[in-house]
């Protein structure tokens, strides 16, 4: 399956975080690269959603929808900054 980018999960991330997230800045915990969520590499229906760093390929985030609940693993990110001061 061809990889998409973080734009494709804007709706999912809005559900998870309660706000628009595609412009939020991520810092990769593996290589330190900074990028907006929109520019990350996204694999959908993998069966879950896998978000990877465009620079080093490491997993930034995994989101699985389990019985109506979003299970989110942000372990691959050193930071996720919405720039909204909170």
């Amino acid at each position: 399956m061809v990889a998409l980018d973080g734009n494709s999960i804007g709706g999912l991330l809005f559900e998870v975080f309660g706000t628009e997230m595609t412009a939020a800045q991520t810092i990769c915990a593996t290589c330190g690269s900074a990028a907006p969520v929109a520019e990350t590499v996204v694999y959908l229906r993998a069966p879950g959603t896998v978000v990877r760093c465009r620079t080093c390929g490491s997993v930034l985030m995994v989101i699985a929808q389990i019985r109506g609940v979003h299970c989110v693993d942000l372990g691959g990110m050193a930071a996720l900054d919405t720039g909204q001061g909170g």
Partner: protein, 244 residues
Amino acid sequence: MATAAVRGRLTWQTATVTSVTRETDAVRTIELEVPDWPGHQAGQHLDVRLTAEDGYTAERSYSIATADDEPVAITVERLDDGEVSPYLTEELRAGDQLELRGPIGGWFVWDTSDGGPLLLVAGGSGVVPLRAILRHRERVGSDVPARLLYSSRTLAEVIYRGELDQYRDGVEVSYTLTRSRPPGWTGYSGRVDAALLAKIAWPASEHPLTFVCGPTSFVEAVAGSLVALGYPAGRVKTERFGGT
């Protein structure tokens, strides 16, 4: 209105299809009446959800094709092995309901305050959000200069051609056809590559703002070429479309 779009709630709602218009053989524009639409920015998309009688659901995202003060519309390309696009382009008709949520997107968006000059590079149906940007630009009377480079396989597959050919002052539209050209074709041929971009794109010294949209391989090739032309990566915004 833009603030509401970012900070508001994102809930599924039921819209009514008001028209389905043929753009090309495989492409339809679906205009919608959305009861609680908060307005949207050019470049944003909405998510569509289809539900079968047995409860099976399928969701896909489609870029909004129109400017904020127009009825909400999406332009959908039918993919042969698609699950959702054949339904939207061949089955859906005026009067049907369509579940959707939106608008979505905070990065791949443009408003006049973002400035320019604008470079818009479209591959196939990637033209949809870029067309929304141009419509928004026109409707607010912006004088930000814009150039659209639109790559299609054939002339017959160019979406919105009549409209795009009308642009004059401030907007330059160039087409490149990759698979076949009609007799007497005076536009460009072949894939968008560094050489073609060097001809069409603003010089990097003008600090353009760029939006690239289309299939993943197209976007990555174009983005790579732009960076090689000296465009800083932070001023090149990309949106990748996939299949089905």
